[in-house]
Symmetry: C2
Subunit: 139 residues, 2 copies
Amino acid sequence: MQQQISVITLGVADVARSKAFYREGFGWEPVFEQDDVAFFQMSGLMLGLWEKAQLESDMQRPGVPPGSFALASNVESAEAVDAGIERLVAAGATLLRPADAPPHGGYRGYIADPDGNAWEIAWNPAWTVDNEGHVTFGV
Amino acid sequence: MQQQISVITLGVADVARSKAFYREGFGWEPVFEQDDVAFFQMSGLMLGLWEKAQLESDMQRPGVPPGSFALASNVESAEAVDAGIERLVAAGATLLRPADAPPHGGYRGYIADPDGNAWEIAWNPAWTVDNEGHVTFGV
């Protein structure tokens, strides 16, 4: 299989609330929206927000809580990490970890979206992000 | 913030087991590996497998189970969905939903990786995937 991720779909309790959060907190606009689902065209993949019961029915796996994973969106500087986290918290995020410097370098903090899904906001000087948002590994 | 996802990091109980699963099941090769972490260069973003306790410590959020989300990797045909799921199950995946046709078209099934993280293997004729694996929304 192609070394490729096509979609990240998050199960959310209230699609309207989540759309407002992603719009206000991240500043992102959906490419498609209905009452029960929204898609954001991201950097080479889609982010989906889908009514949680429908996602769970679709994957035939009911009743699962938010999980042991983190999504990340990298920004261009440490200052942009702080500004991003401030904006996300103002939009309704829960602060998990205030931003600080990890042992491997850079600067990062974590927040949870209204359904508890974790996002890392990070500045990683070793990884390049091109103008289309495509990220390339570096050390 | 740029409309961009940089990394998906999954917290895993046994990094060696997970690396073997992603290598054998999906056929993907890591770009970086240590005992406690591995990164795969994906289509414009990174997939990270990180020792679960370390991820939870890093995000200051201990004890969370696998969650209400699904990652997806889209393939070129319905036959490739069946073949992909068969290979993943042979590599140790749990079958969540055998592949069938959803109401919105195409063909898809779901499996869980060794830590319970859900993946959808899908053929979606409305969405284009270019040679670099970058996915574009379509209806």
